[in-house]
C-alpha cells in the first residue's frame, strides 16, 4: 500500500476524521468519507482504471461527474454486482469492492490491446465491413469473438437480494439541479409558498459551487443551504437523478437510497423510482465541459479542466504535479490558478492569440507560464501521459504544424468550452439552437411549463446564474398562483466579479503535428470513435447527423456522448462546409443516465409480477395436494395427484371418474355477469348470434357472441332467472373483454336500452358436478329442487338450498356427461364444496382439475380459449348453424365479409396420430404432404418435389433436410391424451375442414424440428350423438 500520495494536506469537503477502506482490482486502499471512488483512486496515485471499448487502450479518470466516459467500474459482488458504473459517481464507503472492466488477464497487461494496433479493421461501420465476408457465415464466425472482446462490464445471473421501490409525488415546481441557479430558484419559489421538489444527482447540493474555494462562492452556498432548510414547502432530494421528462409534466426520478452504503439499512430499498407530476419545471442542470480533440487524447492523465479543479478544491486531491492546461476559453484559467495554489507546476496553452492584459497579469502573478496562439498537438506516454507536444495554432487556418516544444507533464487539463445540459428539454421535443457567440447549444422554444436557468441557460457567472434562477422561480410562482414572492433578492453575500476577459474561440480538433505518424484522435472516448471515423463515414455518404451517429455509434454508449456530441457536430460541420446550426443535432431520449431495470420494475417481481386471483376453494385444493396452474390471472387446480401418480395418471383417474361415476371440479374462474333490466332480453338478442328473446324463465341457452368485426369473441351459457334478470357465464380467458364490450354497447352505442350489467365473477363460487352419478350426489346435497329430468331438464336452471346455503343449479355439461353447475355465494363456496366431498365419498366422488377438464372437452370437441383465439369465425368453429337468420346481431354484417366466407379458411377438425408414433403438439403447423420437399442444394435452397407449388419461404425444415414450403394449411390448437380412447387426440383447424376427414397431413413443429404424420377426423371423439348427457 502506497498511501494517499496525492492527497493535499488541507482543504476540501472530505471528512478527514473518517478514513474509509476500499478495494480496487483486489488491492486495498484508503480514502475518506466524502470521496468518490474516482477521487480516492486519484488520491492513491491510481491513474489507470480501465480499458477502452474497442481498442482496449488504457484509460484513466476523465471527469468528476455524471459525464464520465472512461472510468467505468463494476461494483460489489454476487447479487449486488453492478457493471458500468462511472467511478466519478460512486460515493466511497467502507468495504467498497470495485473492479476494472474490459481487460484480461489484468488491467496493466491486457491481451486484447493488440487490437489497438489494427484500428483500420475497426473503423466506422466495421460491423458491416470487416467481418462480413462473401457470405453471412463470416459474421456468424466472428460475432462470438467480437462480442467477447468489445465490451463493457459483465452482468451477473445471481438474484439481487435488495428491494426496489416505486413512489409518486406531486409538486407545484420541480427544480432539477441544485447548483447556484437551482438553489436560488428553490429558495425564491419556497418563499412564495410553492410546493417545491429540488432534485440533485450529487450527494449534496451545491453543484459547481462544491468545486470552488473562493470565499464569496462558498459563503453564498452556506447561506443558501441554511435558508433552504428553513423553508417548509421545499423538499430537497439528493442522490436523485431526473432521468426522463414525459407527457403531462411527468418526470422520472431515480433516488439512490442505499448505493452509498454496502448493504441497504433495514426496511430500506436500494433505489427508489419516483414518478413526479409537476405544474412547472425549472431545469437548472448546468453545463458539461467538453474537450478539444488531438492525437492520443485518451491517455490516462488527460482530464477535463473543471474536473481537475474539482479534485483539487472539493476532494483535496492533486491530480497532477506538473500540469498543462489546454484551453480555448477563460474558464480554465481559474482551474489553472487553483491547481497552482494547490502546489502544482502549471502552464497554460491557449489557442487564442493576443490574450488580454488582465489574463496575462493573472497568470504571471500566479507563476503560470502562458503559451498563446498554441495548441497541444499530441499527448505522449504509454500507460499515462508523460509529455505533450505544443504546436503553433491559428484557429482561422488550422493546419498541421511542426512541434515547437515538448512540455513534460503528468496531467493535461483540457477545456474546449461548455455545453448546457438540455437532455430533459430535448426529450420533450425542444430542439436546441446554436449560439455562435458562446459556441454552445442553448434551448430553443421552450415547451409549456418549462424554464431553464443558470448554466443550462448559457449563464456563465455565479451572479447571472443566481439571478436567472430567481427570475424563473418568480415566473413559476406567478403561473402557479403562489403568493407574491416576499423578496426577489438573493441570499446574503457579495458575489465575485467573473466577467470573461476574452471570448471563446471554437476549436474542435487540432491537426496531428508534422513529422511523426499520427495517433488516434478520439471524439467519443467510451465507444472509441475517432475524428477519422467521422471523416470516413462522411466520405461514405453519412452526411446526416442521425445517420453518422448510427454508423459510427458515436454518442451511443451509456454516457450518451455527454462530452463528445458537440465536437462531433463541429467536425461534421467542418467536413461538409456547413454551420453547426445547419448540421443539426441528434435526438436525446430518456434516460439521461443509466437506470437499472430492477428500479423500474420496483417490487413487481416474482409473485408480485401481476395480481393473482384465487377461487374461494383455493385453500382446499392446496390442502389436498393439488398441482396448480394459471389461467389468465387465476390460479387453478391442474390435477390432484395421489402418491406416485404422474400428471397423465392423475388425469386418467380423474376423467375416468367423470365418465363412470361422478367428479367435482372448481369452475369459479368462469366469468359471471348479471344482466338486469326491462330490455335485457332485447340486449342479449343483439349481442348473441342466436336468439334469446324467447328463452323462458328457468332455462339456460348456449350462446356465442361476435366482435363488431365478425370474429367470435366468446361463448357461454346464459340463463333466465326471472323476467328481467339473466345470469351470463363467459370463458375464464375472455371474461374481461366480454364485460368491457357489453358496457361499451350499453353506454356508447345503445344508451336507450334499460339494462344494467354487473360483473359478479368474484361474488359466486362455482363448481361442476359431472358424471353418470351426478344427480345422485346432487340429491344428497341440494334440497328444494326437483332433480328429475322433467323437473330440471338439460339446460334448465333452478334455485334451492344445500343446508342453509342458497344455491343456483344449472344443468349444463362441458364434459358430455350428465352434469350440473352449482353456484353459491362465494363465502359459502368452501362449505358447499366440502358437503359434496363428504356426501360423495361412497359414490366414488373424485375431484378433478383443468387437465382433466381439458381432456374431457377435447374428447367431446367443445371449443375453448385455444379455439376462441380472436381469429376464428362461426363457420371456422363449425357453429355457423347457430347464427339467427331472422334477427340482426352484433358482428353480423362484417361476418359476411368475402374473406371470412372463403371456403379455404381453416375449419375445426379432430386430429390423431396417423401411425400412433410421434408427438402431437399444440401450435404445430399442418402442411399438405404433397407440398413437401426432400433435399437441398449445397447452398441451402430447397429442391422441390414435382407436385409442389411455386416456392415461397420454407415454413419448416426437418433435420434430414426435408421440409415444407409456404405457410401451411392449418394448425393444431388443443392437444390431450385421451384416457377414454387411450391415445393422443387433438383439435385443430385445417383448410377444407370436414372434406379432409380421413386424409393424412403433416404436422410440423419447427421449434423442435419435428414432422409428424396426423390423420384428420371429426372433432367429436367420444359419444358423438350426445347420449350420455341424459345418462
Amino acid at each position: 500500500m502506497t498511501g494517499q500520495v496525492r492527497r493535499l494536506a488541507a482543504g476540501g469537503r472530505i471528512d478527514r476524521s473518517r478514513p474509509v477502506s476500499f478495494r480496487f482490482d483486489g488491492r486495498t486502499y484508503t480514502g475518506h468519507a466524502g470521496d468518490t471512488l474516482a477521487s480516492a483512486l486519484l488520491a492513491n496515485g491510481v491513474t489507470l482504471v480501465g480499458r477502452s471499448f474497442k481498442y482496449h487502450r488504457p484509460r484513466g479518470i476523465y471527469s468528476a461527474g455524471v459525464e464520465e466516459p472512461n472510468a467505468l467500474v463494476t461494483l460489489r459482488g454476487e447479487g449486488r454486482h453492478e457493471p458500468n458504473v462511472p467511478a466519478t459517481r460512486v460515493e466511497l464507503f467502507d468495504g467498497l469492492e470495485a473492479q476494472s472492466q474490459n481487460r484480461w488477464p489484468s488491467l496493466r497487461h491486457d491481451a486484447m490491446s493488440v487490437v489497438g494496433r489494427f484500428p483500420k479493421l475497426f473503423a466506422a461501420g466495421f460491423y458491416y465491413k470487416t467481418f462480413m465476408g462473401p457470405t453471412r457465415r463470416a459474421w456468424m464466425v466472428y460475432e462470438h469473438f467480437i462480442r467477447k472482446a468489445a465490451g463493457m462490464g459483465d452482468p451477473t445471473s445471481a438474484p439481487d437480494p435488495d428491494r426496489y421501490e416505486k413512489a409518486h409525488a406531486f409538486c407545484n415546481l420541480l427544480v432539477v439541479g441544485a447548483g447556484p441557479a437551482g438553489l436560488a430558484a428553490a429558495i425564491a419559489a419556497g418563499r412564495s409558498g410553492l410546493r417545491v421538489i429540488l432534485v440533485e444527482d450529487d450527494a449534496e447540493p451545491g453543484g459547481s459551487l462544491l468545486a470552488r474555494r473562493d470565499r464569496p462562492a462558498t459563503d453564498w452556498l452556506q447561506s443558501a443551504l441554511a435558508e433552504l432548510a428553513s423553508l417548509p414547502t421545499v423538499r430537497v432530494m439528493t442522490r436523485t437523478s431526473a432521468f426522463g421528462a414525459y407527457d403531462g409534466m411527468t418526470f422520472g426520478l431515480l433516488e439512490r437510497v442505499a448505493d452509498h452504503v454496502a448493504v441497504p439499512p433495514p426496511f430500506q430499498p436500494r433505489q427508489r423510482y419516483w414518478r413526479v407530476r409537476a405544474e412547472r419545471a425549472i431545469l437548472a442542470t448546468g453545463m458539461i465541459e467538453r474537450p478539444i480533440v488531438f492525437a492520443d487524447n485518451d491517455l490516462p492523465g488527460v482530464m477535463l479542466a473543471s474536473a481537475a479543479q474539482s479534485y483539487a478544491n472539493r476532494f483535496a486531491v492533486l491530480p497532477g504535479r506538473r500540469v498543462v492546461v489546454f484551453t480555448n476559453n477563460d474558464s480554465a484559467y481559474s482551474a489553472a490558478e487553483d491547481l497552482r495554489a494547490a502546489g502544482a507546476e502549471v502552464s497554460v496553452v491557449d489557442v487564442r492569440p493576443g490574450l488580454p492584459e488582465a489574463l496575462r497579469l493573472r497568470m504571471s502573478r500566479a507563476g503560470i507560464a502562458l503559451h498563446p496562439a498554441s495548441a497541444v498537438g499530441r499527448a505522449n506516454g504509454t500507460r499515462a501521459i508523460a509529455s505533450v507536444d505544443i504546436v503553433p495554432f491559428d484557429a482561422a487556418r488550422p493546419a498541421p504544424a511542426r512541434v515547437r516544444t515538448r512540455l513534460r507533464c503528468d496531467l493535461l487539463a483540457v477545456s474546449g468550452g461548455w455545453t448546457p445540459t438540455l437532455h430533459l428539454l430535448a426529450q420533450r421535443g425542444c430542439k436546441p439552437v446554436y449560439d455562435a457567440d458562446q459556441a454552445m447549444l442553448v434551448a430553443g422554444a421552450l415547451p409549456e411549463g418549462f424554464a431553464v436557468a443558470g448554466g443550462a441557460a448559457g449563464r456563465a457567472t455565479l451572479a447571472a446564474c443566481i439571478e436567472s434562477g430567481m427570475a424563473a422561480a418568480l415566473a413559476a410562482a406567478e403561473a402557479c398562483g403562489g403568493a407574491p414572492a416576499a423578496q426577489g433578492r438573493a441570499p446574503a453575500g457579495r458575489l465575485p466579479d467573473e466577467r470573461a476577459d476574452a471570448a471563446i474561440t471554437p476549436v474542435w480538433t487540432i491537426p496531428a503535428p508534422l513529422g511523426r505518424r499520427g495517433g488516434k484522435m478520439f471524439v467519443d472516448l467510451q465507444h472509441d470513435v475517432g475524428a477519422d471515423d467521422i471523416a470516413l463515414a462522411y466520405r461514405e455518404g453519412y452526411a446526416s447527423v442521425e445517420h453518422l451517429k448510427r454508423y459510427t455509434t458515436l454518442g451511443m454508449a451509456n454516457d450518451q456522448g455527454k462530452t463528445s456530441n458537440l465536437n462531433a457536430l463541429g467536425i461534421l460541420a467542418g467536413l461538409s462546409g456547413r454551420t453547426i446550426a445547419e448540421v443539426g443535432t441528434t435526438t436525446f431520449r430518456p434516460p439521461f443516465r443509466p437506470v437499472a431495470v430492477g428500479a423500474l420494475a420496483g417490487p413487481e417481481t416474482g409473485l408480485h409480477f401481476r395480481p393473482i386471483r384465487r377461487s374461494p376453494m383455493h385453500d382446499w385444493h392446496q390442502e389436498h395436494g393439488a398441482e396448480l396452474t394459471t389461467t389468465g390471472l387465476w390460479l387453478r387446480p391442474w390435477y390432484f395427484p395421489q402418491p406416485g401418480e404422474s400428471r397423465r395418471d392423475a388425469c386418467a383417474r380423474e376423467t375416468a371418474a367423470v365418465r363412470r361415476t361422478v367428479g367435482l371440479t372448481d369452475v369459479s374462474s368462469l366469468g359471471k355477469i348479471d344482466v338486469q333490466g326491462p330490455d335485457a332480453a332485447e340486449f342479449l338478442n343483439r349481442v348473441y348470434v342466436n336468439g334469446f328473446s324467447k328463452l323462458p324463465v328457468g332455462r339456460a341457452r348456449y350462446g356465442v357472441m361476435l366482435r363488431p368485426d365478425g370474429i367470435v369473441l366468446d361463448d357461454g351459457t346464459t340463463s333466465r332467472i326471472s323476467e328481467h334478470h339473466y345470469f351470463m357465464t363467459t370463458t375464464t380467458a375472455n371474461a374481461g373483454k366480454v364485460m368491457a364490450q357489453l358496457e361499451f354497447l350499453l353506454q356508447a352505442a345503445w344508451p336507450d336500452l334499460r339494462v344494467q350489467v354487473t360483473s359478479v365473477t368474484s361474488q359466486w363460487a362455482g363448481m361442476a358436478v359431472s358424471g353418470p352419478m351426478s344427480r345422485d350426489l346432487l340429491g344428497r346435497v341440494v334440497t328444494g329442487i326437483d332433480l328429475s329430468d322433467g323437473g330440471l331438464p338439460f339446460m334448465g336452471v333452478a334455485h334451492g338450498h344445500a343446508g342453509d346455503i342458497p344455491v343456483r343449479v344449472l344443468r349444463v355439461s362441458f364434459s358430455g356427461e350428465r352434469a350440473y353447475e352449482v353456484y353459491a355465494p362465494a363465502g359459502y363456496g368452501m362449505a358447499l364444496w366440502q358437503m359434496f366431498c363428504d356426501r360423495g365419498a361412497d359414490l366414488g366422488l373424485t375431484v378433478y382439475g383443468v387437465e382433466a377438464l381439458g381432456a374431457l372437452r377435447i374428447e367431446k370437441g367443445h371449443v375453448a380459449g385455444s379455439e376462441l383465439e380472436g381469429r376464428t369465425t362461426l363457420a371456422d368453429l363449425g357453429l355457423a348453424r347457430m347464427a339467427s337468420g331472422v334477427k340482426p346481431f352484433l358482428g353480423g354484417a362484417l361476418a359476411k365479409r368475402q374473406g371470412l366466407a372463403d371456403p379455404e379458411r381453416p375449419q375445426l377438425v379432430g386430429l390423431e396420430l396417423a401411425d400412433g408414433a410421434g408427438t402431437l403438439r399444440a401450435g404445430a403447423i399442418l402442411c399438405d404432404p404433397t407440398a413437401r420437399y426432400r433435399k437441398r442444394f449445397a447452398d441451402g435452397s430447397p429442391v422441390l418435389s414435382e407436385q409442389a407449388p411455386a416456392p415461397a419461404a420454407a415454413v419448416f425444415t426437418a433435420a434430414n433436410g426435408s421440409g415444407h414450403m409456404g405457410h401451411g394449411i392449418g394448425f393444431v390448437s388443443s392437444v390431450t391424451w385421451s384416457p377414454e380412447l387411450q391415445r393422443n387426440i387433438a383439435l385443430g383447424f385445417i383448410s377444407g375442414g370436414a372434406s379432409r376427414i380421413g386424409s393424412e397431413v403433416d404436422a410440423a413443429f419447427p421449434l423442435y424440428g419435428e414432422l409428424t404424420k396426423v390423420r384428420v377426423t371429426a372433432p367429436h371423439f367420444v359419444d358423438p350423438e350426445g347420449e350420455r348427457l341424459h345418462g
Binding site: 407527457d247 358496457e743 361499451f744 356508447a748 352505442a749 353480423g892 354484417a893
Partner: protein
Amino acid sequence: MLRLACPYCGERDYVEFLYGGDASGPMPELADDDIDRWTDFVFFRDNPKGEHAEFWQHLHGCRQWLRVVRDTVTHRVASVRPARDEVPAEDEKRVEVA
C-alpha cells in the same frame, strides 16, 4: 402520461383507463347490414395530427365509457364526457376542423 378528468370520479392517472379507439363516428344501426358502413366504423379509424375524439373506459374506477377529445401532438385534453351523452356540437366541429 395522461391524466383524465373522469366526470364521475375526478382526475385520475391514465393507468386506470382502457383505451377504446376512435370515437368520431357513431356505430351503424344493428339492422344496417351495409358492409361498407360497418367497415368504415370498425377499420377506418381516424388518426389525425391534432385533436382526436376517442373512447376511454375508466376500467379501474367507475367502469364508465368516456368520450375524450385529446390532442395527439401535445396530449392536451380538451374534454372528457360520458360516452352515453349526446356529442356536443362544439366537439363535433372541433374534431372536423382538426
